[in-house]
């Protein structure tokens, strides 16, 4: 097995009243792209801030490349790039000044790399930060996270505010980083975001890790969104009796539902009717995600 990029043991940050993250155990290998999913307030950002050494754990430990995130924070950050979920405010600084200043703090950044990322993300660094739109601020934060070609990139809801074209460019940047061997940790509540790039996904719920699975395992759960168009009336009673068919909605001559298990009971139920349209697709991660939260 590859060495671990991130390892947490019983990592806990307790803010009281059930808020925070509790007993988190994660093992993320080098070179992996890991999606960390959960709704707002589930503990994603808290976990990331613990990994970045910005806040201190109530108990447990977090290690990045074998280094303690709290005690070896400076050494850890030489290897890490970070895009925060809540963007900092740089007021009247120009984008070019922000990247130069942070590059000066890091000391290991090539100007050509900054320029390349600015071109890829189509960001004008000549503007003042306060004049940037939210999306442009997000682009700048992404440049700060990737510009030094870190071994590990930690991204907190990185596509917030990006338009679809730039989102595609972002996925390209993530894939390129993975190609050069970097590990990526992406938190999100938008499942389609991780669907594009992640190898494994962890789902966190109310401060507790609900599951960690390879993406294909989650996607391959035996559940399908089905949509059937009938030439005549919908055989509602027969459909209601189909084992594994949930969320049945009937409108005019159309029936939709979520089917778990095999198709045989459904096929038997519609046998003898005039089906003029039948579509079935794999559930989106949103739908899988919802099943964990129901």
């Amino acid at each position: 097995m590859k060495d671990l990029a991130i390892e947490t043991k019983d990592l806990t940050k307790d803010y009281g009243n059930g808020r925070g993250i509790f007993d988190l155990g994660l093992r993320i290998a080098e070179g992996e792209v890991f999606g960390f999913l959960g709704p707002n307030g589930a503990g994603k950002t808290t976990t990331i801030r613990l990994l970045m050494g910005l806040i201190h754990a109530t108990r447990g430990s977090a290690r990045i490349f074998g280094l303690d995130c709290d005690h070896d924070a400076v050494a850890v950050k030489r290897k890490v790039g970070y895009c925060p979920g809540e963007l900092p405010q740089f007021g009247g600084w120009r984008g070019s000044e922000v990247v130069a200043y942070v590059a000066g703090l890091r000391g290991d950044v090539k100007d050509a790399a900054i320029t390349a990322f600015a071109e890829r993300l189509d960001l004008d660094l000549g503007r003042k930060y306060r004049e940037y739109s939210h999306g442009n601020k997000q682009k700048l934060a992404l440049i700060l996270a990737f510009m030094h070609q870190p071994e590990l990139v930690i991204l907190d809801e990185p596509t917030t505010g990006l338009d679809p074209l730039v989102q595609q460019e972002f996925y390209g940047i993530v894939r390129d980083a993975r190609t050069r061997g970097a590990t990526i940790f992406i938190s999100s509540h938008v499942l389609s975001e991780v669907e594009h790039v992640c190898d494994r996904v962890g789902i966190v719920r109310e401060g507790h890790l609900a599951t960690v699975s390879p993406l294909e395992d989650l996607v391959g759960m035996r559940a399908f969104r089905v949509e059937i168009d009938f030439a005549d009336d919908v055989p509602v009673d027969r459909l209601k009796r189909v084992e594994g068919l949930d969320q049945l909605v009937v409108t005019d001559h159309r029936a939709t539902g979520l089917l778990r298990g095999t198709f045989e009971p459904l096929m038997a139920a519609v046998a003898g009717t005039r089906v003029v349209g039948f579509t079935s697709r794999e559930p989106s991660l949103e739908e899988i995600f919802l099943t964990y939260y129901r």
Binding site: A73, Q89, G92, W93, A100, R106
Partner: protein, 538 residues
């Protein structure tokens, strides 16, 4: 709801000003009762001494009148200076109402919720006026209750309160208008405070020299024209009328301008958003260097302070000869003897007193403003960005202090050169080495203030400015009241300003300087521990 939020945002100012006002009022009233004596002879002697002191401080305080009475003493000693404190408060509040909320996106939320622009700003103005009324009322009431058997009527105090309120609202109007012309609260507050200090000094200069009609531009002159405590509650109709009129006009201009300009923009033409259109990082090498990087980003702010401080120092020194000559030409032998004993008949000593006492106060204000920006670094995510780079907490703490000291070093160096040159132009010979040493020792004041502020900022960022301002006010009052009450040296040494001493007028107080350095060092070490232990952004 709008009123409640506006009130909440003014809570710190309300508490701080009410405390400062009440404390200042009560202590000054008690001080007078304590030191002025009770017999006519004692009162006459006290009046003579205070008249001497008043003459020395005429660049800051009004000329004392009926100083043998509590009314006259308060009018001179308390209200002559506290009007500047209220003016600075008004500058901070006015810039916050006119620009601060907008910077934080709150105005956009209000407007989106259907609140009209004029209604929004008028509400803020009204809340400020209400709070100022409460603060001034509390101060006047505390003075009235502390007056003991001294003759001091409620009507006189009420009139003075009205006068102070009018001056405060006028200064608030100035800040509100300035806030419409710039794009950041920092710029608005800085320009407004700088302008008000300049207007305060113009009024001070007008007391000792003929500066013509320029003095009418100063709200402090208009305030000073009324002497209700010594004139039986009478307000100067021209002074109070002009203050109120100017205040209303300025507030109206602020509201109308706010209603017409773009959110986030300025009311000035030709300030459209222009981009240099680049994909490259800045080539400025300073940005990538420790200390010089942050300093480079503050360059306009530091330059403004440097220019303002140099101008202030030069103006103070330029009136030195006039003031000292008028003091030493007194026909009262006692007065001449007093000045000679105090060393104030000597030009270079006088330079030391007025330059360094002003410098220590202003440099502590500079440090407080820096501490405010450090706290904002935390709240606005910049500290998290810095700590996301391979940068230790130690470097953050030390770099902040180093940046503060380099900036203050530049300001004091330029100021000391200006003092030396202007003094030479006045045919006043200064010991260059002593000027340089006094200027260098000035660094201990912002070091101590900055380190204490750093500690509070690292522990409780939201409390940093309030706590450090309390240290400054406490130090100021201690310095002022120790001689009056005859408190022991150890009490005097609780004031950071007292620890600095008067290095150009007497022996250098090395123990005090060491105390300041010690306080700064201990607070720096404590802030390192505090920043390491605290959660960033919490």
């Amino acid at each position: 709801m709008l009123i409640r939020i506006a009130l909440k945002q003014q809570t710190v100012g309300l508490i701080a000003l009410a405390l400062a006002g009440v404390l200042g009022g009560v202590l000054n009233a008690l001080a007078f009762i304590q030191i002025a004596g009770t017999t006519p002879a004692e009162r006459a002697a006290f009046a003579q001494q205070m008249t001497l002191l008043g003459a020395q401080l005429s660049y800051m305080l009004p000329v004392p009148v009926r100083i043998d009475t509590l009314s006259g003493y308060l009018e001179w000693r308390l209200f002559g200076f506290i009007v500047l404190v209220f003016a600075i408060w008004a500058a901070i509040s006015g810039s916050g109402s006119g620009r601060g909320d907008e910077e934080r996106g709150l105005v956009e939320q209000w407007l989106a919720a259907g609140v009209g622009r004029a209604r929004y700003l008028i509400t803020r103005v009204a809340v400020f006026a209400a709070i100022a009324t409460v603060v001034i009322g509390a101060m006047q009431l505390s003075i009235f209750l502390s007056a003991g058997g001294e003759p001091l009527s409620a009507g006189e105090l009420f009139a003075m309160g009205v006068n102070l309120l009018a001056a405060t609202l006028c200064c608030y109007g100035i800040a509100l208008v300035i806030a419409q012309l710039v794009t950041t609260r920092r710029a608005a507050g800085g320009i407004a405070a700088g302008l008000l200090i300049a207007l305060f000094l113009i009024n001070g200069a007008g007391r000792t020299a003929d500066i013509g009609g320029v003095r009418w531009l100063s709200p402090f002159y208009l305030f000073e024209r009324s002497r209700p405590l010594t004139e039986g509650g009478a307000l100067d109709p021209v002074g109070i009328g002009t203050l109120l009129g100017a205040g209303v006009v300025l507030l109206a201009i602020g509201v109308v301008t706010f209603a017409r300009r773009d959110l986030g923009g300025t009311a000035l033409p030709g300030t459209s958003r222009e981009s240099r259109g680049t994909r490259s990082p800045s080539r400025d090498p300073l940005l990538r260097l420790p200390v010089l990087g942050p300093l480079r980003q503050q360059r306009i702010w530091v330059a403004a302070w440097l220019v303002g401080f140099v101008a202030l120092s030069a103006s103070l020194i330029s009136i030195t000869r006039t003031i000292v000559d008028s003091l030493t030409s007194s026909e009262v032998p006692f007065m001449r003897a007093y000045f000679e004993r105090a060393g104030l008949s000597v030009y270079d000593s006088f330079v030391g007193v007025i330059w360094l006492s002003t410098a220590t106060l202003l440099l502590s204000v500079y440090a407080i403003i820096q501490v405010a920006s450090w706290s904002a670094d935390d709240a606005e995510g910049r500290l998290a960005t810095i700590l996301s780079a391979p940068v230790s907490h130690t470097r953050v703490i030390l770099e902040r202090l180093a940046t503060l000291l380099v900036a203050v070093g530049l300001i004091t160096a330029a100021s000391s050169v200006a003092v030396y040159i202007v003094a030479a132009g006045q045919a006043i010979t200064l010991d260059g080495g002593r000027v340089a040493l006094a200027a260098a020792l000035l660094l201990t004041i912002p070091f101590a203030f900055g380190a204490i502020g750093q500690f509070v900022s690292a522990s409780r960022p939201r409390m940093a400015v309030v706590a450090l301002s309390a240290v400054a006010v406490f130090s100021y009052f201690i310095q002022q009241f120790v001689p009056l009450f005859g408190w022991p040296d150890w009490v005097a040494n609780l004031s950071l300003y007292t620890l600095y001493g008067t290095p150009m007028s007497g022996d250098i107080k090395w123990a005090g300087v060491a105390g300041l350095v010690g306080i700064g060092s201990v607070a720096t070490a404590a802030s390192l521990v505090a920043l390491r232990r605290r959660d960033v952004g919490a």
